[in-house]
Subunit: 295 residues, 2 copies
């Protein structure tokens, strides 16, 4: 049980339940089990609609016990929703109104406007909801891909749902418990940023794999002529397509804008090839500088 | 000295000279020094127009000695041109006709039509020229980025310049000496393939960095909200821009075609967002499958 002070406020994360025991849920579970009583964690449990996924997560030491039904997670002091965005939205529609007063609700999705809007609409005032996005992970789907050490020093976006200092305070506690860097940010800024630092890179990785794959299929290109760089450039396309489709769909407007932006940059650089290698080299350096080069 | 049989033919790679002691030249030098007499290598030397680069390469154990002038490389039994494409073309114009009869000439550039055309035009019949492309490397420019262990099992494209079995035979010997997999391929197929497996991924990495960087500069996005995936997706944009500009310029036609192809795929996937997450997920899986998913 979590500790309560004389005013009935919970200290520490208490009983944690995670819904969705895939890579992200398992990663957080492992990190929280390790943090244990230092973070006031008294128990970690998880539900997954696919029982074998929940079992694999348990076997990796991410939880103390498996929940048989999603409803059981409503008993938690800290409820973490770690599914693809569409499933988070469905969960909130179905169970949001039944969350326990005083409990803390956070999600892990990478599209925050859609999720925090749904939290605002469905979750009672006595609950402390917060949008969350731990920005660490691998491209390997499921519990096998969980690497809790990647949380260390990684940004953990905390997105307010309403004026609720208690929700923010518990979010910071959760982020720090797993070694991450809490970053408070509004939903719109988060989604604009992540469209360009994560969602577009995912979409582009699929498109790069598609362009090469099409050329392999037609015999225009030889699949044997692939170097290590191709692996890096298309790594994100190995991600769980349901997760990727979920956040691209939930952040559609910013994703479409960023597609328009990269199309423009690609055409500008492609046209710069005409100017010869020296000018092109300068154009490439200038393009990458604000994101990659030290000032 | 290399061994000669009763007919004056060289066996083994003999005295090797590398022009361009950057990442690729240093990587090959280190692998050849290690292969040593097993590959008939009797001596490895290098020239670089930037003396400090040659010194750094020597310090990494890539060569036995540094050449003071590019012309000295013309004495070698095996001459390796490991500069950006425009410098290789200039070298061939200046020195191609002066190559030693019986010697073996190979380059390492990732654009092969331009280089093999220039070899065909400039190199005497008594020389054995071959286009080469070791498809291994890192994004760190210069001798410090050389990782010869990446050659092991990596494809090494061998591109005939003219009907010359001796050139191919020495190319295979060089590839095997460093543990790479020799892949014989014509220049056009090579350039069509590598446009899509390497040149486009490089261009896209710069464009991804550019889109995010522009949003950071204008304050539309927060540079702190960057995850490990962004690093992988933009890794190739950390490459030496002169090298990248060189191969994009030399393979301009196929690079432009592949830009048109990825633009089309991006717009198709972007439009598929409208169809909802389930359809989008299927479209993503189908797009990546020929390049990434096991059959």
């Amino acid at each position: 049980m979590s500790k309560e002070d004389g005013f009935g406020r919970v200290h520490g994360l208490g009983r944690v339940s995670i819904v969705g025991a895939g890579q992200v849920g398992t990663m957080l579970g492992m990190a929280l089990v390790e943090a244990g009583s230092d973070a006031g964690v008294t128990d970690v449990s998880a539900f997954d609609r696919t029982p074998s996924v929940a079992t694999a997560s348990l076997e990796r030491g991410a939880v103390h016990r498996i929940l048989e039904r999603a409803e059981e997670a409503l008993e938690a002091d800290t409820l973490v929703l770690a599914m693809p965005v569409p499933s988070i939205l469905s969960f909130l529609e179905e169970f949001g109104s039944r969350l326990r007063p005083g409990s803390f609700l956070i999600d892990t999705a990478s599209a925050k406007v859609a999720v925090t809007d749904a939290m605002r609409r469905t979750v009672p005032q006595a609950v402390h909801p917060l949008g969350g996005h731990p920005m660490a992970g691998t491209e390997v789907a499921g519990p096998a891909g969980a690497r809790p050490e990647l949380c260390r020093g990684a940004p953990f976006a905390l997105v307010p749902v309403r004026d609720d200092p208690e929700a923010l305070s518990r979010g910071r506690e959760l982020a720090r418990a797993i070694g991450a860097l809490p970053v408070e940010v509004d939903a719109e800024t988060h989604d604009r940023t992540v469209a360009r630092t994560s969602h577009l890179p995912h979409l582009v990785a699929y498109a790069l794999a598609g362009v090469a794959g099409e050329a392999f299929l037609t015999g225009d290109a030889l699949p044997v002529l692939v170097s290590t760089g191709f692996g890096a450039a298309t790594r994100l396309a190995a991600s769980d397509p349901d997760m990727v489709a979920g956040f691209l769909w939930a952040n559609a407007r910013e994703v479409r804008r960023s597609v328009a932006e990269i199309t423009e940059v690609l055409h500008r650089l492609s046209a710069a090839i005409e100017d010869g290698p020296d000018h092109l080299s300068a154009a490439l350096s200038e393009t990458r500088a604000p994101a990659l080069d030290p000032v």
